[in-house]
Structure formats: structure tokens, C-alpha cells
Amino acid sequence: MGILETDGVTKEFGGLTAVDDVNLEVDQGEIVGLIGPNGAGKTTYFNCITGFYPVTRGTVHFEGQDVTEMEPWERAREGMVRTFQQSRTMQSMTVKDNVKLTALDHPGERIVPTLLRSDEMVEYEQDVEERAYELLERFDLADQADTYAAQLSGGQRKLLEVARGMMMDPDLFLLDEPYAGVEESMVGRIADYVRELNEEEDMTFVVIEHGLEALVELVERLVVLHNGAVIADGDPHEVVNDEQVIEVYLGSSIE
């Protein structure tokens, strides 16, 4: 079994089927792209994988474990990290605090060490501070450390979301439209970081984009969703030239 496996995942809202029986297996170290016209159900599918939506039917397995009943925060702790379509950095916190926030198992997040200002807590915070700076430097955000996230550019905020997620040592990174709202110049950089992390840390990525050609260069495998169901899954170049896929994209007036 791969690092992520969804079996028959279906999500219905009242009469509407947003995700329709999606079976997907992702192996460790893969970079998989997930595309489809607007409304295809890509983000909804992500919400099902991460637990923000309970599935109507089907199961989600992560690293061999059935996580279908687990809360989103529990899945995140297991190593499943996601970003959001509209980047959701904490606007009223600094860049550095955004990254430090994500540290796991911080004694400072328990009330007693906090009230006592225990040595354990202070030491851990020092480690967190150093780790945060490392990550910020890696993503070239170090000189923005004390800027409030609200003042970053669109692309920088996307990078911040990735840097933040990295604090958790993720095994699987789910990126929801990382290029949306990002300046031209930054798009390439984001793609570079994804490749780098994939090569250096063997990190698995599933990336959503809604443009047909957007992910062709980045991913090794492309999955297409339409009306909640998978209509193509394979080599990116073949998939974007697939007739059915092209029709589906032409059929939706955008793109």
C-alpha cells in the first residue's frame, strides 16, 4: 500500500455528489498532480482526505493506517500536512510566529509549564526558534521574520504556508493551488522548492491546480477530476493530450 490510499471516497451534500467514488493510491516519494475544471471536487476531495469533511462513503488510509475516523489535527500530527486554496497564514501574527506555531509537542502549549515558565518550556522554545530560522532561511523569508504576514506578497504567503508545514516534518504534503494569486516570478520558485523537498527528503506531494497545463512540468503523474470522479490518471503529457480531458476543459468556459 502506498503512503496514501483512498478507497471509494464519496462525499455527498444533500442531493449533490461532490466527490464520486475516488480510488487513488499514491506511493512514497511521488509528486502527483490533481487537476480538473472549477467545481470538479478537488478541494472537497482534499477536505475528505484531511478530515475537514467526514466522508459519506469510503476509507482513507495513510501510511498503512485507517484514518477515516480521525480528526484533522490528528491526521496532521501523523504527517499529513495541507495548505489551503486561499493562503491561510495568520495575518495578525509575524512570519516567524507563523512558523513557530507549528512546532509539535511544545511544553509551552500545556497550561502548567506555561504558567510556571518551566525550564523545559524555555529550552524547547529556543529550539523552536532556531528551527524556525532555519526554515525561513531555506525559503528565503528570513529577513521578513518580524513582518506581519498580512504584509507579504501572495507568493511569499504561499511559501510561508509551505515553510510552516515543514515544521511538522510532513511525510505527505497536500498543496491546494499553490500558484493561485502568485506573481509570475514566484511560480517557478515554488515549483523548485517542491522538487527540492521531494528529492532531498523523499517527501510525497499531491498538488491541486485548476489549469490544464499548469502542472505538466512539475509532476510525474497527473490525475483529472470531473464532477467528482476520476476521468484520467497517468503520465502528464499523455493526460493533457487526452481527448476526453480536453473536452471537459473546453466544456467549462474558464481556461
Partner: protein
Amino acid sequence: MSTETPTVEFSDDRLLWAVGAVLVLLGLAIIFSGLEFGLSGIILIVIEVGIFFLLYALLVLPVNVQFGVSGLVNFGPVLWFGIGAYATAMLASTGSYQGVTFGFPWPIAVLAGVVLAILVGLLLGVTTLQLRGDFLAVVTLAAAEILYGIVEKVGGFGGATGIGGVPRIFEAASFPMTDLAVTFVLAGVVVFVYALAQRITDSPYGRLLKAIRSDEDATEALGKPTFRYKVLVFIYGAVIMGLAGSLLALYNGAVSPGFITLDVTVLVWIGMLIGGAGSNRGSVYGLAIIMGLQLFTRIANEAFPVSQSQFAALRLMIIGLLLVLIIRYRPSGIWGNPEEREVL
């Protein structure tokens, strides 16, 4: 690659703890020494208003941690204030004109008040904290009104008269001395609670709470059990507010519905908003401004015996106007940080 990362430092609050301890000891000293001296009329008025300022400060700090820091709209601080006050009063009172009393030793009564406050905080928290902001405001408000209605209308709770005969543990040589002692003790308690609130706010814990306020879903996606933290913040606040109520009962020797009206909630919220929601210091300062206006009108009233109610009306008009102006032109409050203001 590495630039020197700054050493992590938490602000040194030893002075605060020392000041708090000194204040409490001063107050206790006045009580136990039997010291007595005269105090002028004006000082007595200042002390009277001051005592309520300090009690309400014990409400504004938890409300600030809940709303200003964590984004939880708690419109019912008087619910826990009232629970602490009435539980302590009824359990410790040796006999009241109206209402049921039990005559237990007062530490037990205080403890019971705290436990009850925690239970109510837990119950309300678990059931309502998933509601969006304005609905949560309505529920907490309704809950506070329910308590008010019950203690005012049901005879067992003393009705409109309230519960009397509560042991007055701060009794000193005379009434003015008692008031003076209580002022010191309460001031010390406020300093302690402020120090605790700062430790929560200015720390990784506070960082987490601010993140919850900023974007709960994103915070959850980062592996934090956000709902749990919200309930815990609710409960911690409940404890402090309940204790404040207990202190009221033990100082005053009596409690009545008049202490837990909507007006108190409004006062606390206006104080927090004017001073700066999110800032512990700002919230207390803002409350001080409001109570300062109250003090001013009371003293001025002594000097000019104009109709008292008209003066009070003018004062409240000013406070209402001040709130509208702050929300419009300086929503982060006088001492708040505009960068840290969330668009709610």
C-alpha cells in the same frame, strides 16, 4: 548559513509577583493588626469605586484572554461572577432574611463555587463553542440572563433582596479600614491574575490561542486540537470570574441580583474595547478609564448636588459615545496593537 538566532526571552515578571504579594500582605496586615485611622470622605469614595474597579478587573482579564486573545465572544462574564458569588454566599451564610443558606466554612463555599463555575464553563463550552461569533455572544448573554432571572425570581436564592449573612472575612477595625484592606488585597489579586494572564498570552500558549482566533481551521490543519483549547480557555476564565464572585460575597457579606446585571457585562466589554482587546494591560487601563469617569461623577456630585441620575446619565452617554468613536476610528483600542487586530 546560520545567522545568530536571538536568544528566546520571556519578560521578567518577578517584580509583578513581588508587588502583588506586598499588596496582599499590606491588606492582611491592616486586618490583623486592628489598625485604625480616619479617612476623608473623598478617599472613601475613591476606595468604594476602586473596589468595584478591581472586582471588574478580575472579569475583564479573563474576558480579554477569551475574546481579545482567543477570539471567543463571551457576553456572559456575569454568569460565572454570579455563580461564584451566589454559591459562596448561600453555602457560607449563617442566616439570611430570604433564601436558603447552609453555614458551611467559607473556604468550602469558595471551593464549591469554583467547582460549579468549572462545570458550567465545561458544559457551556462543550456545547456552544462551535457556534460562530455572534451566536456565541447571544448564547452566553442568554445564559447570564437565565441566571439573573433565576436568582431574582426564585425565593430560594433570596429573590430581589438577595442573600445576606455571609461571613465578612476581611473585617478590620472599622468599615473604612475594612474597605482599605480589601482594596489592597484585591489589588494584589488583580496583579497576580494579570501576571498569569500575561504568562498565558505572551508565550507559545498565547501564540496558539492567537492562531485559533486568526484562523481556527488552518490551526487545526497544523495539528492543534483547537476545540479542546477553546474549552480550556473558557474554563480557566470561569475559575477566575467565579473567584471574583466569591471575593465579592465575602467582602460584602451579601449578594443580590443587582451585582450581576447586563450593565456589568457592558461595562467590562466597553472597558476592554476602549483599552484594547488583546492587550491585558490595555483592557485594565480601559476599564480604569470607565471607572474613573464613574469616580469623577461621584465626587463631582458630592461637590455639586445636582440631580444624581442626570449626572449618571451624562456619564453613560459619554461612555457610549467613546465606545462608538473607538470602534470607528481606533478599533484596536487605545493600547492595542493595530497590526494584531483581526478582522472579525
